[in-house]
Amino acid sequence: MTASVDLADFLPAYLAEVEELLDSAHRQLMAVEASARRGAAHPKSVRELFRALHTIKGLSAMVDVEPIVSISHWMETSLRQADQAGGRLPESSVEPLMEGLRAVEQRMRQLAAGKDASPVPPGLLERLEALGVSSPVVASTARPSALLLDETLALAPRLTPTEREQLTSGAGHRRPVRVDFIPGAERAARGITINSVRERLAALGELVKVVPVAGPAPGGGSLTFVLLLSTDASDAVLKEAAGGEPAQVRALSTAPSAVDGPSVPEREPELEEEPEEGRRSSGTLRVEVSRLDEALERLAALVVNRSRLQRAVVDLTAVGAPTRELRAILQENGRQLRDMRAAILRLRMVRVGDVLERLPLLVRGLRRTTGKAVRLELEVGDAELDKAVADRMLPALVHLVRNAVDHALESPEERRAAGKPPEGRVRLGCHANSSGWVDITVADDGRGVDAGAVARRAGVPVPRGPDDLLELLCRPGFSTREEVTSTSGRGMGMDIVRRIVVDQLGGELRLETRVGEGTTFHLRVPLTITLLDAIIFECAGLRYAVAVGSVEELIEVEAARVVRPAGAHGVALVERRGQSVTLVSLARLLGSASAQAVDATPPRGLVVRQRGELVAFGVDRLLGQQEIVLRPLEDPLVRVPGVAGATDLGDGQPTLVLDLNALGAARRPGSGGREERAT
């Protein structure tokens, strides 16, 4: 028997997991770098980094991506040595490791785009290999302190010197504690497992080690997990975290070591960057966005169905049937649908902090290339954003932060001369307001935008206010000039920022700047957006979009097969698989056609279903299919039956998104059209 398994099928899942591992690796490496700069060790992060690369290597081998296997192998090798050296990594090793991560990342992107991963960049392996050879193996400096572990269990030999040190040298009021957790089937069913207990205890202090001990345990178990941690939490809190009875909490006594005496040399300062949040909580679930979109689509179908029901009830009421109860249910049903839509949209929310986790890395790179001292402050709290919005916003924010460091911030000397602290500051703030919008600010304390200089460069009069200045900065042509030394500085790619924020997402962009003091960009974007797979077509010289899901079929309209019954005003019939379908000239319907366009037979038809009946809309040309961001027309007075909203196809021009089902209905006498939408 041969297994009909192709591991290449796992490529999408592989890409998703490696992406997560890379994020974690970046965070750990930056923590390691921060420690290395102080000459300190960071054993935890080195270990995590090692493990991330080890996993990447193994997975890449399984799906046969040899370049990533090689890169991660050599990175792993040098990290193994650092791990054996007590988590000490020379600062000079950080850059080649960063380079390695970037190389892996680049190949991931190639794979995601359906290409082959390119070979390992020349020289990289040699540089990584050299790290392993040259990094001096510094012996661990941790001295075993006298920790009197419970004599009943021979745990002490199972602790490394570093672990003993971690247990006994807790800062502040921390004390070494032993928590016994006894797993059980009934407890597991309630979600109290070693994984959840470990996670809860890790949040209460420093969890140093977990040792499984077999043998009769209180409560009839046969296994005890002994968790050793350094904590300031009370016994009651610890016991609760371990799931209550029959868990036990015991203090571990420590005694000063006779060798060390009281003159213990000062400890290294507490490590400040413990990327604890990097651990993914087991309470989260990865879901493909397309599945959530599918749920939304299903919901949209429900909403359409509800309008049919509503109409039926109206008809019933009209003939005098008792429908009061029915109407009450219908109203409740409408509320439930809205709640459900809100619940599904909440599933698509991602933490802004997670989305921006790569920005510190970007700033780090800029610090290196520009030689400027920069501090990036992220004040995003727990703000959340629709994943679709976040994905689109990220490039805009990257642009703004890059601009701020590249152009707005002065060199340390310039800043000192201007009486500013030498280290520049870029602050990114974010908070959601209650009305469905998110406010984001990107502020720097740099030189500000000199309106006069910008005007000179653009060859126009000096703009009067910040809005005019922003307008100027966002001119597409303006962005192409790249003068790093210019005093106006800003403007690189501002047109792209505005395209994303204003045109794509329908948000707002404002500028506030003071020469010599700094610049703040205020962005306001919607909390959620509606994505739509759309067919783009041309009709009477204009482009339109229509949801793919609403179109039953695309047909060729042959003039010879079009029948125009005499007297039927503007209505023609076209044959489709032996069936007559009403052919409507979309150009005429939209009132945008010249006389000759109406007379000519449109070459293509979009077939849609209206109240069970097929209708073909004649259009001039099909331009393709793409995912669009649907921006509903917000003003209720402008709500036109048949128009779902507008979108930007990437050229900055608004394009109408048609709802052909309703467009046909509105045309008919006596029909109200479908105005109810899932909003």
């Binding site: 297994a3 398994v5 591991l7 399984m62 797993p183 597991a188 296994l223």
Partner: protein
């Protein structure tokens, strides 16, 4: 029905192992994402095969093997260790601790399937 416990902190890797073994009829799979979870599950219900990663965040695969072999009830549980190039030094340790087979990534679906079949069918009653 034979119960298989697949232990790896990488979900993709667990899914791959399951996909590789799926063609063998009558297997039921349970996942564990850490060595400690594996020990917990082994103590709570019986299994017929353990597929174990070596490199995990809390306690490594070798410690799991040592733990398993230290228990009367689990002394004959077949264990396949799955690991990555560079872990060769661990191979001897894992085998001497009592692991039955050792697979190094990359391996083919057929290779691990053949090992699993061998272990499940030769398993002493």
């Amino acid at each position: 029905m034979s119960e298989v416990l697949v232990v790896d902190d990488s979900k993709v890797m667990r899914d791959m192992v399951v996909a590789c073994l799926r063609p063998y009829p009558g297997l039921n799979f349970t996942h564990a994402s850490s060595g400690l979870e594996a020990i917990e599950r082994l103590s709570l219900s019986p299994y017929d095969l353990l597929v174990l990663d070596l490199n995990m965040p809390d306690i490594g695969g070798i410690e799991v093997v040592e733990f398993v072999r230290g228990q009367d009830r689990l002394r004959t549980l077949p264990i396949i260790i799955v690991t990555t190039r560079g872990d060769e030094a661990s191979r001897a340790r894992a085998l001497s601790a009592g692991a039955n087979r050792f697979m190094t990534k990359p391996f083919t679906p057929d290779a691990i399937l053949a090992e699993a079949r061998g272990l499940l069918e030769e398993k002493p009653a």
